[in-house]
């Protein structure tokens, strides 16, 4: 039996978190949510999710940014799959260079194709657990 894949959604917008949850849960994901980068790091260290979706434009607490979180995730577990979501294409290079597997430009409609694209990866992660 396939094990649910732990997914952490880091986004300050509850509606976006809910929408991503809506699309990832049917693929066999157990979804947890964080509303800023600091909370995201704490949850990441505790849950060790296999997949993280990370919103770039978030309020920072104590100057801790999404890119800092991206680097910390890679340092703690380089095998973690991080998908970055942003409305600014300027961010793309920095996050891909930091190891993001996917950079999704908003609009919101793109989340549907994101779920389709990640489906085989999630299935493999599930079987590998």
């Amino acid at each position: 039996m396939e094990t649910p894949v732990k997914v952490l959604i880091v986004d300050d917008q509850p509606v976006i978190r809910g929408s991503l949850r809506l699309r990832l849960t049917p693929l066999g994901c157990a979804v947890e949510e964080a509303e800023n980068a600091t909370q995201g790091l704490a949850l990441f260290e505790r849950l060790r999710p296999k997949l993280v979706t990370l919103d770039v434009i978030m309020p920072t607490i104590g100057g801790y940014t999404s890119l800092d979180l991206m680097h910390d995730i890679r340092r703690i577990d380089p095998e973690t799959n991080v998908v970055v979501i942003s409305s600014k294409l300027d961010d793309r290079e920095a996050f891909l260079n930091a190891g993001a597997i996917e950079f999704v430009a908003k609009p919101f409609d793109n989340f549907r194709s994101l779920a389709r694209k990640l489906e085989p990866l999630i299935q493999s992660l599930s079987l590998a657990q």
């Binding site: 509606v15 976006i16 929408s19 095998e79 194709s113």
Partner: protein, 417 residues
């Protein structure tokens, strides 16, 4: 350098439909021996209609390879480094499928990082490939454009502004005046007032749709609908408040997708609660009508709603702002609201609760009780807009801005004081 050649052109349908459907061109890239099976499989696919171009082999891949076709399928096998280098161009106009010979997580991760839009795997599965090709073909054809009925959502971020009243009367105006088939969907799940407004007692509700695992089809949907005297149908909210939690997001998505195929016009009463379900409805809507009244709190709530829409970046959707219970001469007038929201107001529903009360108490609808009333005329205008038959905007009132900071923030530089 070998120019790509068309090895086959297939058209999947006949007659007019066939002529209207464009073929999707597919370019294969990689070792031709490794692509033989894929090429023959693609040639057997009728829907979507494909133009399959012969493989381009390493290292003869032209620099502009991504401009050649709609889809590029890149075989990623032993020479993975070379294949990923080809995938790398970031400005590719093609949709790139990476065909992987392994399902290892690291191989998928590398392909995604290199820019693959879809992942395919050897051994090939015709169902998976067809599904992926159809997705691309539908995107190219603009699948987001209305195909089937129009979905119109009614929403507000503040209570008591008449969302259900507007939803009911716009839907009935479409039915009565435009003679279209209409379905009302009550997603104001806890209040569930839509059926009362229409004076019907539904035997079944949307909850019934989630009671079996069977996929939603037209027979199952029709079995839970209630017919109104006007000929419109109602998908009612749960009978009990606690049952609203039994309505899943998936059910709502399925209902809307199917309803658009069965009805010309679908009215969704979203009430005044916004969550991921509501957003899923907006994604499927051709029209959103946002209602507010002439109060500071309602205007502030509308600002928050518009800010949310901006953050969600749903570029197709520009809500039609409707001022409900409109009173002429009230200090917060239309011009104030236009200024505060920085967008046009589409319509004002006059404060005519005498007429609307008579409608409710009589158990009949507005076009039976007061068809020529001012409020009925506004609903008819909204109905034409919602049905995609009109696009006029009411002129804003004379601009005055006597209120405080809330309204002063977005005051146009050239506005008269």
């Amino acid at each position: 350098m070998r120019a790509p050649t068309e090895s086959n052109v297939r058209k999947g349908r006949t007659g007019t439909d066939q002529q209207q459907r464009e073929t999707t061109s597919v370019q294969l890239i990689g070792n031709p021996a490794g692509l033989v099976e894929l090429e023959s499989l693609l040639l057997s696919i009728n829907d979507p209609p494909l133009t399959v171009r012969s493989p381009i082999q390493w290292p003869s891949v032209p620099a502009d390879w991504s401009a050649i076709s709609d889809i590029a399928i890149v075989l990623v096998e032993d020479d993975e480094g070379e294949a990923l280098r080809v995938l790398a161009p970031q400005k590719a106009s093609s949709v790139i499928f990476a065909l992987l010979t392994t399902r290892s997580v690291s191989a998928m991760r590398r392909a995604l990082q290199a820019g693959a839009d879809e992942l395919l795997f050897v051994p090939l599965n015709v169902g998976e490939i067809t599904r992926s090709l159809l997705n691309v073909a539908e995107s190219r054809a603009g699948s987001s454009s209305p195909e089937g009925g129009r979905v119109c959502s009614f929403v507000s971020n503040s209570g008591g502004v008449g969302v259900t009243t507007a939803a009911v009367n716009v839907g009935l105006a479409v039915r009565e005046r435009l003679n279209k088939s209409v379905l009302f969907v009550d997603l104001h799940l806890q209040a569930g007032a839509l059926a009362s407004y229409l004076n019907v007692t539904p035997a079944r509700s949307i909850v019934s749709l989630g009671e079996t695992q069977r996929r939603l089809d037209s027979a199952k949907l029709e079995s839970v609908l209630t017919k109104h005297d006007s000929g419109a149908y109602i998908l009612a909210a749960p009978h009990r408040i606690e049952e609203s939690e039994l309505v899943s997001d998936d059910t709502i998505n399925e209902v809307l997708d199917l309803s658009r195929k069965l009805f010309e016009f679908v009215v969704v009463d979203c009430g005044n609660y916004i969550d991921s379900k509501t957003v899923a409805v907006w994604e499927r809507s051709q029209e959103i009508m946002y209602l507010l009244t002439q109060s500071v709190s309602a205007v502030q709530s509308a600002q928050r709603f518009l800010q949310l829409l901006e953050r969600l970046e749903l570029p197709r959707l520009v809500p039609s702002i409707v001022i409900s219970k409109y009173l002429e001469g009230y200090p917060i007038d239309e011009a104030e609201i236009v200024n505060a929201l920085n967008c046009d107001v589409f319509a004002r529903l006059p404060y005519d609760w005498d007429t609307l009360d008579r409608v409710q108490l009589s158990g009949r609808h507005l076009w039976e009780v007061a068809p020529g009333s001012p409020v009925a005329q506004v609903f008819e205008r909204l109905a034409r807009r919602a049905a995609g038959e009109a696009d006029e905007i009411l002129p804003a009132s004379r601009m005055r801005f006597p209120l405080g900071r809330l309204f002063m923030q977005r005051r146009p530089a050239d506005a008269p004081v």
